[in-house]
Symmetry: C2
DNA sequence: AATAGGATATGAATCGATTCAGAATCGATT
DNA sequence: AATCGATTCTGAATCGATTCATATCCTATT
């Protein structure tokens, strides 16, 4: 049933070596032979067997991507970027969503190791470093996505969250807000603490007195955003902040929902709102939400490139790529 | 560098056949041997080489998923369902997003064929049937997702769009709306025409006179939703519809945005709004949007199961699985 | 003690693409 | 015609897991 390279060789009247050469190093083959092989391939409908190829050559045409939150449009955009770049190289992406579950994270790393992927892109959740080291010792490199690699032995591609936090709050201050609340969590996520740190810098540098409070939530979801917003509105009116800085766009969407009262939209007149990531849904909200843009597709694309380079030259020293964020101003932070 | 089954055999003092038996048919191996093999595996850090396995046995541990719109949360949910089910079987998903581009669609099918995937899940865009037939002749089955297979030779898993359209409009009528506009397109998408057909049935069955108009848009995106909403509001007030039925949630989000005027939210008091798919973002909108729920994760999970069954028994006759949709009522269709 | 029969274990053959040392072919030069 | 070098082609060996015919070991029965 399956057509093998041997069948093609017979059909074309050449040896298997020649067929392989036509496919892999056409410059070393005469035009006539190449021609006959190609027609034989067409006639028989031959398709390369990737398993045999991988077994012999050790070169893999798949890359694994372990994502910690498949629900978050930001990660979808990152995957898209990686996928787009991968397809240019004839590489396919093995996709694993861990949903913030360490055991799933481990399972996918095991699975990808069995598959002998070319490398792994991962936005890590648990402590995966031991396992990543093990993969590396088996010749499988990993690149961290949306997480600064620091002094680890792994390359990373991420965005400067501190700068992003700072830009967000500087913008709020510049548009006249003075009582700012940050909404995000959990507090052991590096992205969250970085964004807060950036916000603090902006507050400290401000000319006027600016108040910054931190409203911690257990997860960065729409639901937690709604709940946090309700808590704010439950206060006496004069204790309301005049601006909310959400740790990501999902939280911002939740906050926005909570700020519609009796058909009146409190954003931006009563309270300004800014998110982080700049996913499509920030722009799509009922009141378009200002956000700190991460170049998500570029992150994915870059991570894949770094991975391919490293897998080609294992001697390469890990490098940390950090992109600057960008302020995107929309109606939710309009001046009153 | 790489540890092979032979190394394990040496370490455990048994033959390679025995190691293989421990891994694949443990019942035919003595407890002692199994024990020694397992410790050897641990000690050496052995990982099965999937390429060798695939080459010999012809069984693949990957399944391809070709998605036509990676931006749409609905498809993400479907992928999640499939992925979750796959992980239970030790199967990984090769992910390909076509972004409504036939050439990408073809590329991914080729790539997946080279990878000798166990089978392919696909939400088709272009005319892929010839290629799917070719895959099938090479022993690779395909299951259509979110698309009724009809009389084709392929199984499918989808939702009854006609019923969904009907439910949506019956609900609008029941809540007192009489001038209904459907917003969706393009008109050659089966999902769209089905939903309109369902809407017509509801209108025809209504006791009162109900008006149904169709506002065609070129794509089901947020942007097109916004534009369509603006066009509606540009009419003289008395020609406004009193309800909008969006062909999917993305369009509904766009419509909602266009219906916020000067901080006043026209939904639901002036105009009711209902979407389709019931993605997380419908519930997360500033005014939570009623929607016709598709059991997205279940669709993905089921599609994967059907695929596995078919790939195990190639004689199985293709079957069309159709799930009923479900009405989810939220604030956007509240009674005035 | 001999032997049958079940339970275990063995290892050579196999899958298909790639590689590379050696063979064949061809032209040009002497 | 002989020789050399370049170009092109060949085919056996290889990767690692699985399979299955065969061999070995045990236990129970006569």
């Amino acid at each position: 049933m399956a057509v093998s390279i041997r069948d093609v060789a017979d059909e074309a009247g050449v040896s298997v070596g020649t067929v392989s050469n036509v496919l892999n190093r056409p410059e070393s083959v005469s035009a006539g032979a190449a021609e006959r092989v190609m027609t034989a391939i067409d006639r028989l409908g031959y398709v390369r067997n990737d398993a045999a190829r991988k077994l012999r050559g050790g070169v893999s045409t798949t890359v694994g991507f372990v994502v910690l939150d498949g629900q978050n449009p930001f990660f979808n955009d990152v995957v898209r970027g990686a996928e787009d770049e991968a397809s240019r190289h004839g590489i396919a992406i093995l996709y694993g969503n861990t949903d913030q579950d360490s055991s799933r994270e481990r399972m996918y790393l095991d699975l990808f190791e069995e598959q002998q992927v070319r490398g792994v892109l991962i936005s890590p959740y648990g402590d995966v470093f031991p396992r990543l080291e093990r993969l590396r010792s088996h010749g499988i490199r990993a690149v961290l996505v949306d997480r600064f690699g620091g002094t680890s032995r792994f390359s990373s591609v991420s965005v400067d969250s501190v700068a992003g936090g700072r830009m967000a709050v500087e913008h709020l201050i510049a548009t006249g807000r003075r009582r700012i609340a940050f909404v995000g969590g959990p507090m052991d996520m590096r992205q969250v603490t970085d964004r807060i740190a950036g916000a603090r810098v902006a507050v400290d540098n401000a000319m006027d007195a600016v108040d910054l409070e931190v409203l911690a939530i257990p997860a960065m979801t729409v639901e937690e955003g709604v709940a946090a917003g309700r808590r704010v509105l439950a206060r006496p009116r004069r204790e309301w902040p005049d601006a909310l800085f959400a740790a990501n766009d999902l939280v911002a969407l939740g906050l926005l929902q909570s700020l519609v009262v009796d058909g009146r939209m409190l954003v931006p007149d009563e309270i300004a709102l800014i998110g982080f990531d700049d996913t499509a849904f920030a722009a799509a909200a009922a009141v378009p939400i200002s956000s700190i843009r991460q170049p998500s597709a570029t992150i994915g694309r870059t991570a894949l490139r770094v991975l391919l380079e490293e897998s080609e030259d294992p001697e390469l020293i890990p490098r940390q790529t950090v992109f600057p964020p960008e302020l995107v101003i929309r109606r939710s932070t309009a001046v009153r």
